[in-house]
Symmetry: C2
Subunit: 203 residues, 2 copies
């Protein structure tokens, strides 16, 4: 087989995969990963069910690929752009503002991908729950690292960084639900929470 | 028809209804209200599908009755026992401790009923979402009323009671997910959050 044909086929496969996964993250953010099926994705994208099945193999492989795609999109929308801000309080403010855009625009049709899915999978041990928990841990660890930066730089009041990261994340998750319900007042609640956590030490 | 027969029939209907709903709240806390079906409840309870369908009519009526039953059970396990404590900081501590029991024991097989379902219904307007939001509003309003009590009694630092109630509830919801994942360290995080919110004014 001439190399161009193989390359073209690979490119077409990657493009199809991308198209299916873009649809899958939206569906999973609205209805949860459990609702994903090759048939539903075929009818939503206009591709053949057999073709999609060949690309992913099993439903679980599709679900895990969807989680990875959502993670990449979240990182691209929230984590990477915040890297322009210096470590510590400035980075935390940037992360929060990009998170607010992520949840209000929203990047995924059903809002925060992790909130939509972890509530469904938290009682079901297995690779899907593990992948969602890995994303949650990475996000909270990122927040607590920046909090420790801010504390050791003397930018903010000394506090338990892990507990503060848990708080911040809890408020973001609750605000995500509020946004889905049309309560835009939660954006102000997020900003006030962040400013409480990032209060400068007295004197 | 003699009155005893009608009474007996009514009693049997109520008992069956109670049995079905007890199973339904567990299922809905694990898999969400969307996963409820007359067929599944029939096979789980050993009752006839037709009999259950006659009792509830439509799937939506069954879902709404399940929300009401979960609300009654939550009120009985968390809100009512806390009424023994005086209004304000003591009542808030009692509510928190009963909530911790509710989520750790747990009262429902899948943990907090609202967290399990609101994440699924937050993007779907309709009577089910409305009922879940009503429960969330009532719970947060209860917390903020007790916070205002504690503030006006001078028990705790003056603060925005509505924002503090949002925080407390956000931390409880995040802790519920942690508990489902086997992270018992979240109980300590709840207690420390509550003590931060309930800190006495200086002097």
């Amino acid at each position: 087989m001439p190399p161009e044909t193989t390359d073209k086929r690979r490119l077409r496969g990657a493009r199809t995969r991308g198209m299916v996964l873009r649809q899958a993250v939206d569906l999973a953010s609205l209805d949860s990963l459990e609702g994903l099926s090759f048939g539903r994705l075929a009818s939503d994208t206009g591709l053949s069910k057999a073709g999609i099945q060949t690309l992913f193999g099993t439903k679980e492989a599709l679900q895990l690929a969807t989680i990875d795609r959502a993670r990449e999109m979240f990182t691209g929308a929230v984590v990477q752009p915040a890297r322009q801000a210096p470590h510590g309080a400035a980075r935390l403010r940037a992360l929060t503002e990009h998170w607010i855009d992520y949840a209000t625009a929203p990047l995924f049709a059903g809002g925060c991908f992790r909130v939509a899915n972890l509530a469904e999978y938290d009682s079901r041990p297995g690779p899907i729950r593990d992948a969602l928990v890995r994303d949650q841990d990475d996000w909270r660890n990122l927040l607590s690292r920046e909090l420790r930066h801010a504390i050791s730089a003397g930018e903010i009041v000394d506090q338990d960084a892990e507990l503060a990261a848990f708080h911040l994340d809890a408020v973001l998750c609750a605000a995500n639900t509020g946004l889905r319900l049309g309560d835009t007042g939660v954006v102000d609640k997020i900003r006030r929470t962040v400013e409480d956590v990032l209060a400068a030490p007295p004197g």
